[in-house]
Symmetry: C2
Subunit: 400 residues, 2 copies
C-alpha cells in the first residue's frame, strides 16, 4: 500500500492503513479539454434541488425566538427530523440516527461494527470509495458478484457454507453503483436470513432508492425487520450533496455505541442544517415527493437520451441495460477487441470524461473492465447526445 506523506513522527496504524487515491477518486489522471462533457459523478442536477424553498425555510427557522437552530443539539439528531424520517421509513424513531451524509453513515458502521482486520463481503463491482472507507478498520474483503438482480446471494450462501466467515456484508440494494441493478425483495429476505444464520451485519447503502423512474420499488422491510442491518441513507441525491445530511436506520442495540463514537468525533450533525431541512419537509408535506417527481422525470429523460444517443452514434457497440432509476448507465463493450483504457483516453481527447469500468472491480470474475460508468444526472439531454457522439468518434479511432 502506498502511504501519503513522510512526517517527523511515526504515524499511527489508523493513518498508515489509508492508501493514496488511484483510479477512481484520483483527480490527476489526465488533463481535460475546456469543453469536456463530464459524466464522472452521481451528482444531482441543480434544477431539481429546492434551493428557493431551502432559503425560505432558513428564514423561518432563524426567525424563531432564541434561534435554537444555532445551538447545540443531541448526537442522535433533532427530534423533528428524526420523526419525519422514522415515519417515512416505517421504523421507531429511536432507530434513526442523523448523519453528515450517506458516506458518514457507512463510516460509523465500519468503525462501530468491525474489528481491525475483519473480513467483509462486498459488491463486485463496487462503489470504490467504500473500499477506502473500510481502511478505517483495515478490513479484508470477500468480493461477491453483482449481476442484473443485485448481489449474488446464492454465491454468498455457497461461500458461507464452504466455511468463509465475514463480519459484515456491504451492498447497494437499489440502483446499484455502478451497475444500476436492484436486489429483489425475496433476495433481501434471503440475505438477512444468512446474516442471522451466520452472524454477520449487513450494511445496506441506499442513496439512490428514491430515484426510481420506472417499475415498482422492492421492499426495504427485510432490512428494517432485522437487528443485523444498518440501512444507510442520505438527502444527498434528493436535496443536495452540499447539505451533508443523511441518516441510518440501525439496530436499537447499536445506537448507544454510535452515539458514544460520534460524541467523541463531531458531536452531532449541524443543528442549523437539520432544523432547516426539518422545516422544509414538515412545513409543506407535499414538497419532498413533488421534488422527487421532478427529479425522476428529469433523470428518466436523461438516461434515455444517453442510451438512445449511444445506440445512434455507436450502433451495436454496446450492450445497454436501460436503468430503472439512479444516476448511472453501465454499458458493456460488445467487441473484445476494443481497448477499454485506450477508449477512455481517446474519449477524453474527444471531450468526454467518464469512469472506466475497471475502477469498480473489487476482485476477479467481473466484466467491469469491459464497461463504462456514465453518470447522466447533471448533464442536459442535449449534452448527453453530444457526449454519445464524441464517444462514437473515440470508438472509431479503434476502427469500431
Amino acid at each position: 500500500m502506498t502511504t501519503l506523506t513522510d512526517t517527523r513522527a511515526p504515524r499511527p496504524a489508523l493513518i498508515r492503513a489509508l492508501t493514496a487515491p488511484k483510479g477512481f477518486g484520483d483527480q490527476t489522471l489526465r488533463d481535460r479539454r475546456p469543453d469536456a462533457i463530464e459524466l464522472l459523478g452521481g451528482i444531482p442536477d441543480p434544477s431539481v434541488l429546492p434551493s428557493r424553498e431551502i432559503a425560505e425555510a432558513t428564514a423561518r427557522v432563524l426567525a424563531q425566538p432564541g434561534a435554537p437552530a444555532l445551538q447545540y443539539s443531541r448526537t442522535e439528531g433533532i427530534p423533528a427530523l428524526r420523526e419525519w424520517i422514522a415515519a417515512r421509513e416505517g421504523v421507531p424513531v429511536e432507530r434513526v440516527v442523523i448523519t453528515n451524509g450517506g458516506f458518514h453513515g457507512l463510516a460509523l458502521a465500519v468503525q462501530t461494527v468491525l474489528e481491525r482486520g475483519d473480513l467483509v463481503a462486498v459488491d463486485n463491482p463496487i462503489f470504490p470509495l467504500f473500499l477506502r472507507g473500510l481502511e478505517l478498520s483495515d478490513a479484508r474483503i470477500l468480493p461477491i458478484g453483482v449481476g442484473r438482480t443485485g448481489i449474488d446471494v446464492d454465491d454468498l450462501a455457497d461461500r458461507l457454507r464452504a466455511g468463509e466467515r465475514t463480519a459484515a456484508l456491504y451492498t447497494v440494494p437499489d440502483f446499484h453503483n455502478p451497475s444500476q441493478s436492484t436486489l429483489p425483495t425475496d433476495q433481501r429476505r434471503e440475505l438477512v436470513r444468512l446474516a442471522e444464520q451466520y452472524g454477520f451485519v449487513v450494511f445496506a447503502d441506499n442513496p439512490y432508492r428514491e430515484l426510481r423512474f420506472r417499475g415498482e420499488q422492492e421492499s426495504v422491510e427485510p432490512f428494517h425487520d432485522s437487528d443485523l442491518v444498518w440501512h444507510v441513507n442520505t438527502f444527498t441525491k434528493t436535496l443536495g450533496p452540499g447539505l451533508r445530511l443523511g441518516w441510518v436506520v440501525l439496530p436499537a442495540h447499536a445506537v448507544p455505541d454510535v452515539v458514544a463514537l460520534r460524541s467523541r468525533q463531531d458531536g452531532h450533525s449541524s443543528t442549523f442544517v437539520q432544523a432547516v431541512i426539518a422545516e422544509l419537509l414538515t412545513s409543506d408535506p407535499l414538497l419532498f415527493d413533488a421534488t422527487l417527481e421532478r427529479a425522476r422525470a428529469l433523470y428518466r429523460e436523461r438516461a434515455d437520451a444517453l442510451a438512445d444517443g449511444l445506440e445512434a452514434e455507436a450502433p451495436g457497440a454496446f450492450e445497454i441495460d436501460r436503468p430503472d432509476g439512479g444516476l448511472f448507465l453501465w454499458p458493456r463493450l460488445r467487441d473484445d477487441g476494443v481497448d477499454a483504457a485506450r477508449l477512455a483516453a481517446d474519449a477524453s481527447a474527444e471531450g468526454v470524461e467518464y469512469q472506466q469500468g475497471a475502477f469498480f472491480a473489487s476482485g476477479p470474475g467481473t466484466d467491469a473492465e469491459r464497461r463504462l460508468r456514465l453518470a447522466y444526472g447533471d448533464t442536459s439531454a442535449e449534452q448527453l447526445r453530444e457526449a454519445a457522439h464524441r464517444l462514437g468518434r473515440a470508438l472509431r479511432r479503434q476502427g469500431v
Copy 2:
C-alpha cells in the same frame, strides 16, 4: 471502565474503549426544578448571534446560479472560507482545514497523531470531554497543573527532563476551561520549544480566544510558527454552536493525513454551512468584529454581575478571580468545612445548577474539588444575581 451495552457480536476495541458518561456530561445526575437557573455550559447568548444576517446570507448564497452551496466540495473546506480564516490567523491557506466545530478538530488531531495507548500531557483541571475524545486512541494521560497563568510549563519541563515521554500535549491557552486563565506569550514559546526538543505535538484548543473583554491578547504566533502545533478553533462561541463549523491551523505536512482520514469519515463539512458563513463574513467585512464587540460587552457585564452577586450574597465565601474573557467563573470555596458535593445538591434544591469543580480534575494535586464552574454566557445579569442569591442560600444550609 464501564461499557455501554451488550450486543450480540463482540464489539471492536475502538468501541470497547469508550466509557459511559459520569460526572460532567452525565445528564441524568439529578432532577431539576422547573425554575432552575442553569449555569452548566459554555453556551453563547442567542442575542449576540447574527441570526438575521445568517438568514440573509443564506438567501444570497442559494440564489447563485446552479446553487453550488448544495453540491459536493473539497475535504479541506471551500476556498472563500479558508482564505478568510487564513487571513485572520495570518497563516498560509494551505494550513487551514475546515471542521465540524472545535471538538471535531480535536478528534481529528487525536486520530491522526496518536497511536493507541500513547501518553498525552493534559491540563489539570481539564475540559473533561477532551478526556473522552482521547478514548478514540485509548490514550493514557499525564496531568499537568493549570494555574493563574495557564498550564505549568515549568512543571512539564521537569517531567520531561525526568524522563517522561509524551506523544502530545493538550491545553486551552486562552480563557482556559474551566479556570479562565490565559497562558502568557513567553510560556507559549517555551511550550513550543519543549515540543521541538522532546518531539511531541501540541493540541492548542482555543474556542474562547475571541471573547476577551478585558486586557491585552497574548500572541498565537508561537503556535503558528511551529510545525508541531495543531491550533484548533471554531465559530461555536462566536456565531453559534449549532452551525458545527470550525477550523484547525495545522502543520502543512499533516494536512494530507487529515484529508485522508476525513475523506473516509464524513467527506467534508457542509458546503451549505461553509458557503453561508463565508458569505456572511466577506459580504460585510465589519460584521464579525461588530458581532464580537457586542458579545464581549455582554459577557463582561454578565461576568461582573455574577461576581458582584456572589460577593454580595455570600460575602467572603469565595475566592474569585474575575475573568478577562470567556464564559466561565471558577470561584474557590474559602472554607474547607463546606462539603462541595452537598453544596451542589443544595444549590440544585434551591434552583441553581452548575458543574462541580471535582468533575474537571484530570489527576491529583489540583484544588478543583473546592471550586465551582459557573457558566454565565446565556443567562441574563438579573438571573445571575438571582443565581448568586440561591447559591448563598445553599451555602447557609451548611451554616456558612
